[in-house]
Amino acid sequence: MKIKITVNGTDTQGDVEPRTLLVNYVREHLGLTATNIGCDTSSCGACTVHLNGESVKSCTILAVQADGTSVTTVEGLATNGVMHPMQEAFMQNHGLQCGYCTPGMVMAAISLLKENANPTEQEVRVGLEGNLCRCTGYHNIVQSVLACAGKK
């Protein structure tokens, strides 16, 4: 099936099987491999991207469902080589260890601040409930999000 998806501001077209997952379209058809596949069961959040500006798990969305939408991956966050403030906050606060969950964490965190620009620490923790860090590096991830929100 032919689909058109705007990815990181660029119009893309693909001819995919209906069973193609959005994460596979992004990684394999477009070669944007920053979005990771973790659990592959919509539990871990490593595959989190934005669909029309909201965080979603791209392992549990068919590419055909995303036809006609706008998708942002972590590759689309920087502008002219300048990192997004959330990326900068993760770097400054050591919000990553092995880095595998980081693309999904950053995308989930940006979506979280869009819905709640001034969260408490507890609200950040609850807001990131859909993202697992197997290094258990949650403390600095939460600090990074609070820093980006100007609360630290």
């Binding site: 069973r19 965080s55 549990t60 969305i61 068919l62 469902q65 989930a108 979506s111 859909g130």
Partner: protein
């Protein structure tokens, strides 16, 4: 994991969706947010030959004040239920419970109608709408019919929906200031409830429903009857599992689930009565 191959059809109206499901019959499934169906398909626990994507039927996504009840389009996402000012005012228990479904990413995709039609006894919204005395509106080839939530759930992942019918609207009576509580006991934030309780109370009236205490959501009518006849919360909550037939799994034995139900119903009623 990638699902087994299937044909993909897209419906732009409820009538078109019903026409398509009538054409393909038992081999077809409706696809809304996909957050119950696609995981099953990836695990090969479901292998429909045809998916009928109904998510683009935008006129089935709404939350409207309809006088004595709030009408919610079946394709309204959990996120929109959670943040609805209309629901926060008139059915705050439902808005609150929607915030416990999955996680934010899942709530950006999953729909209230999809959750109810899937009829998973471990899901939060089937039990919550059951506690609230909701009515479900379904549309089929011969028109629409209304089904009381208390008559809808027939077995594990089985409902009163016929193969060629689609859930289109959920009608939730206004709570009119009733106290309420939603209790969800689980090990990890995003998990299904090991046991959950949705409860409201207004004077002698109450509604209490249980999550994951049987192969369907359970209306704890004995609890409400005990309260209506003047029983204390402590006594009423002892009747929490009267209508339930819990089973054991990796998380809990049936005996532990029964204990949890009594404790959580007591907590819920204490909050709802405060």
């Amino acid at each position: 994991m990638i699902p087994a191959p299937f044909d993909y059809k897209r419906a732009s109206s409820a009538a078109e969706a019903i026409s398509l499901i009538s054409e393909y019959g038992d081999d077809a499934k409706f696809l809304a947010g996909g957050h119950s169906l696609l995981p099953l398909m990836k695990l090969r626990l479901a292998s429909p030959a045809v998916l009928i994507d109904i998510a683009r039927i935008t006129d089935l996504s709404y939350i409207k004040d309809a006088g004595d009840h709030i009408a919610i389009g079946a394709l309204t996402r959990h996120h929109d239920v959670e943040y609805s000012s209309v629901l926060k005012q008139h059915a705050p228990l439902l808005a609150h419970a929607a915030g416990f479904v999955g996680d934010p990413q899942i709530r950006h995709r999953g729909t209230i109608g999809g959750s109810i039609a899937h009829a998973d006894p471990a899901s939060d919204l089937p039990a919550t709408t059951l506690a609230l005395g909701a009515t479900y509106v379904v549309q089929g080839p011969n028109g629409t019919r209304e089904i009381a939530a208390s008559n809808f759930y027939k077995g594990f992942l089985e409902s009163d929906l016929a193969a060629d019918e689609m859930l289109t609207e959920i009608r939730v009576p206004k709570m009119n200031g009733a106290g309420w509580s939603f209790q969800k006991f689980n090990r990890r934030a995003q998990d299904w409830a090991i046991v959950g309780v949705a409860a409201w109370r207004r004077g002698s009236e109450s509604g209490v429903a249980l999550v994951n205490m049987d192969n369907t959501p359970v209306l704890a009518t004995s609890v409400s009857a005990a309260l209506a006849s003047g029983g204390s919360i402590a006594d009423a909550s002892q009747k929490a599992a009267t209508e339930a037939h819990p089973s054991g799994d990796n998380n809990a034995t049936a005996e532990y689930r029964t204990h949890l139900a009594k404790v959580l119903v007591r907590r819920a009623l204490e909050t709802a009565s405060a």
